[in-house]
Subunit: 285 residues, 6 copies
């Protein structure tokens, strides 16, 4: 009798043979409003058996791809710096082995750990950022390592003009003002995504998807639901566009399953992850 596997559906390849590696970063200590994103990554894994491996959107099947699911990291709650170190170490290993890390949050701060790793390997990194929130604060109640500051911290690593934001519909006035000089922000939707893809060209790209970019009607399971977001179909289209880029790492954050007892938010996250994995993995075929 052998131990039962416990992976995202269809992602049961061995590490050595896989070009894509999933791992979870169950951390939400800096969430300022409603916590719970720590349960996002395990919920996605647990509920993925409710969807199919085949995508009728792409006519491709996860069952025929080679993806490894490394499970969740053990992260110390209450210690953001230690958590980011552990995340960066995991990303370092995966990137060092020539594979693409796909991280599942957790809150959005976890992105900083993976970006630190990616920028060490790719100094000319671009960041494509889907989110309801600008996340450009310099600090939050005096704290620099907060989910509300994560893209500001990323900017310190990649510099002006290399971060492209989409779907943004919340932030304080100072964030939007600062952002207008240092990052490229597309409010409310994806209208300027094709331009950004053209501008980025062949440069290495980190794609970070804060799932609260989605409208709360289809994705209420998040800590800070913001009305006026994008639909599932729009996000799917945006991923089809963005994942044609030279993506070196990716993440999905801010699913907080406890806030959606229907399970529809988790199910949507599973489908978006399936589609993204199929897009990432199918680029060479």
């Amino acid at each position: 009798m052998t131990r039962n596997p416990h992976t995202f559906i269809g992602c049961d390849a061995e590490y050595a043979e896989s070009g894509i590696v999933i791992f979870g970063a169950p951390f939400d200590s800096t969430t300022s409003y409603r916590p719970g994103a720590r349960f996002g990554c395990s919920a996605i894994r647990n509920e993925s058996f409710g969807i199919e491996t085949f995508s009728p959107y792409q006519d491709r099947d996860l069952a025929y791809m080679r993806i490894f699911d490394g499970g969740d990291l053990d992260l110390p709650f209450g210690s953001p710096e230690a958590a980011l170190d552990a995340i960066a170490a995991q990303a370092d290993e995966i990137l060092g082995d020539g594979k693409i890390p796909v991280m599942l949050g957790g809150e959005h701060l976890v992105t900083l750990g993976a970006v630190r790793s990616a920028v060490r390997r790719h100094p000319d990194l671009r960041i494509v950022h889907f989110d309801a929130h600008a996340d450009l604060r310099d600090d939050y109640l005096g704290v620099k390592l907060s989910h509300a500051c994560v893209i500001r911290r990323c900017h310190e690593l990649v510099g002006d003009g290399r971060i492209f934001q989409f779907g943004i519909r919340s932030g304080d006035g100072a964030e939007f003002e600062w952002g207008s000089e240092h990052v490229k922000t597309c409010r409310f939707g994806f209208s300027r995504l094709a331009d950004a893809v053209h501008e980025i060209g062949d440069a290495p790209v980190y794609v970070t998807v804060d799932l609260d970019v989605l409208d709360p009607s289809c994705f209420p399971g998040t800590g800070t639901p913001e009305a006026g977001g994008v639909s599932f179909v729009s996000l799917l289209w945006a991923l089809k566009t963005a994942l044609r880029l030279n993506v070196v790492a990716m993440d999905f954050t801010e699913l907080s399953p406890v806030y959606d007892a229907s399970g529809a938010s988790t199910a949507l996250a599973c489908k978006i992850l399936r589609e993204a994995l199929l897009l990432l993995g199918g680029r060479n075929t």
Copy 2:
């Protein structure tokens, strides 16, 4: 003092004078993911007093129609064949009396019982199928009578080219492949519905509505919510189109009220049922 009535709102006519007969099929034993559809039919009846009998979409009123609500069948959980027999017997009685049965599920497998009855009386039966899932598996873990196989079983009764699917956005690769040869599948929406209506012409039709064809944003109360579905208004339009056909029987399945504590899913199901009854009943007026 007389016993209190307990029917869907406005459906308190006597059986003999009614052209349409509602009954419930509270069964969900083969549901593979999240059960609860057994409570769909009673929830629709209980919550229907929260809506009006008048439709502002059609300017018609259920209060002026003659519809009988026969309550729910007593179905043995764990014994699909016995449940299907009981459903077919109920449909036989209604069809035999020259009335239109409108069955409320329950899981989608219950459709097979009513289709068996309808096809005995109408050997040239066509099936119009609204659903998120193809339901075309030959078996599910070795079991032939499963909600995931129900349309495949129906196909064995009606044959090639007589099943028209709409809204499909989930299934395994084999289902879509098999389906491309034996049924007519319209993915994601209703774009080919008008064509189907034209093709069907005057033939007798069974309309089966798996309510998870709706997007989980407006209908999270179902066992397997699939993002990317149709809106309430789209489904209403599709019913207006399909119910001009020679409909001999109809069903609505897969409302699982426990997954939507807001009650919005049940309320939507009540409204869709009201509109469908008004459309069915108003055809001769």
Copy 3:
């Protein structure tokens, strides 16, 4: 050490210096289906700290406006007449001081209290009414003061042709028939709003927003969710249009937070209120 303030976010000005005054009317005794709207006003206040004071839709910030939040009235449940008296007295004081009252319900009946006050001061008052329900019944089970009759009661105060309804998609046949002669009803959406704004011109206007005008997909947190409603973006656009009128008082009713455990409905209500306050307050700037 001073006592902590408890106001809607950014609305901590002194009464004397404020042109807009918020107050809550936590009453839902006449709700016929599912109660809970009594908790709407306090939920909006409590959860408002989850949104920003800055609006990316208007590039304006509540932090730079002068708005007073007077908290919630103490209303006697089970005694609608006494509750309406208390509401009218509060509105009288605010209107008498030359300020705009913005009332947060509570069920929709509370509107009658504020309209009674507004019409005393502005006999030529018009009412712009956003709602899923016509609310034009003459009585409900013999009761005249019911949420289902509130606009009929308002009509008795302002007369024919002065009430403009939008988004209506539920009512009994008699309501729609009566309404066609006495009020101007736009079903399902806002298609005739621009015409109404033009017709109203400079007349004083009371704007009443029953939040169930929104589709339950984005606003399930209400007692009687009605499928087929408007989106957040549509409502926002409609408010931008309507609040250019000479608005003398306003209300938002029928948030019932207990029916949406995700909090998305309350969050949406907070944003709509923020946008409306910015629109109201920004008219002279």
Copy 4:
């Protein structure tokens, strides 16, 4: 095909042959804290099929008794006086036919309607009152007809020394002071119940059970849960004791099913009702 019955489990006798008559009073307009008791009576009826008709506590079976379930009254929300009139009329009819009314609330105010009827027929009526709350206020925010005043209103009908309260653990200081002179209050439990039974002797008795007398651990489904209550077994024992009296009418109030998603509160209410019916009906056997 005949219409389906919809009664409390096992209570499907004809009215004429029944000695006990159940009816529901779905009213909660005066609830001052959290409404929802209006759904108590229908929840008990709907969920009763989850329990058995046989009682292992009494070795008796409801299936062998003759009880009529008359369904729920249509009560006008927002108009307590009209609601109480309708309740009293229903109780008058049942008492006039020589039967015992068993009313299911609804909030506790509904008791006043039935007590008005009972005291007309039995001027020497005693009231046995199980509750967490004293309900002895003279008014609540100026309103006399409030659930918080119901026993005070009953006292006006039956006079000093004829009301016996048990389980009381909440009230304001004035209530306890007034109560000490006019009613007999046993705090926290049933320690003086046997004495009261002895004192009452053969006098006609109205038994009113506010189910929040139970501890919230076993009965969280109520508007105002009060820690420190009695257990199911204690309440069962107390009913065994009290129902040996000459009970002429009875009620169970304040189940608010929405506050207990587990259904355990409703299931407990069903069992307590079954036990009470068996005790009432078995007195002559």
Copy 5:
């Protein structure tokens, strides 16, 4: 990078070195009231990381024991006979290897599969049965393989006088009558458990724990909550007594986590399982 383990806390030994083997039987197709027990076994595994491996009740630690967790079986919903075959096959393998199977349900019917296996190996098997329900029906709506009949089916395998029931407080009259001649039933609690242990002596024993034997106050997360049950501490004491017997197999069934959103029921199940494993594993030390 190796695949992450996914076992009950502390149960990560290899199969070969383990004396106890856990496996899950996620099946609930015959549940007649509220389904959901299929999610019990995975919930116990997922949530077990919220408890400690050390027991302050026994001063023992799971971390020092050798237990294998084999994960959940893939069982076909809707086909009870096939599910029971799969369960029996799993139990056969474990018993054949000289180990003790500890099965996690699922509904109570799954017990029959494991008992079939145990009785083949131990023809003189006794069954110790903790439950709220007698489960002694001969059939349920004509179906023999139902959770409501499971102990009756077991009786057909082990014969008269070999089944000892405790905590029983629900059943129909016929069950209690039949039971009085064929099994030994202790109603409501464990008062006769010590006698039973003495009577059983050294015979091989199957212990089946339907967790709804617990009071719904501490265990609301089950399909059919029955008031008047035992406390956690009582059940723990009963297990300490019963597990001194020659236990050859054991199960825990009927946790239905969806009905207890607080998670307390699942957490309790985790602790009871920990204590049982420590008791089973510590017998030789």
Copy 6:
């Protein structure tokens, strides 16, 4: 028009005249299992209007006491050290003014901030600790400032033999071993509380109540529910005993209202706080 107060019920005295000062510490960043305790303090304040100011247990009334409620601190999530500094500063101010701080958590780590302040002023401080968990870990995943380590950190401040634990029923083996040498632990209940009170005598005491000491049956609203806890009545008795000591500061932590949708946990916390305030304030009367 004046700004509305927002305090715990009956606690609206001015700061200067008050001997007891309530404040909230909404922090839960180090919670390792299920977060949400940050909402405990505001839930207690918001829901307190559902209880009375009068206690039938003590025949005293909060309305006649002088208590100030200072609202909640603004604490930076993700930065435990900064949060503890802010808490200690608040406690310093209150203790410096000769008043008793009563802090509402938040997770249990917040206790450390207030204990740091208390021990500066009272170097011979004793700690009376009610909890399900020992909280004696030296670190948790390498982090020293964690809720799982809070009493270990307190021990570093007060030394051996000065911490008295009650109700403890969870911890790892090392915690219990270490605890047996350095603190006085009473497992499961309060059996040794009277002894501890006698031993402590007149020394200054900090009383910390982790509300998960209560059984999850009456208090499911907490992050880590542990079966086998104490009842409300037991805790009330224990407080009556402990609050006769020379209490200089007190706290209540770990209410996580989101996990108990019934509101019973929050209501219980409100009552326990009322009783504690009456006991603290009534010591001199």
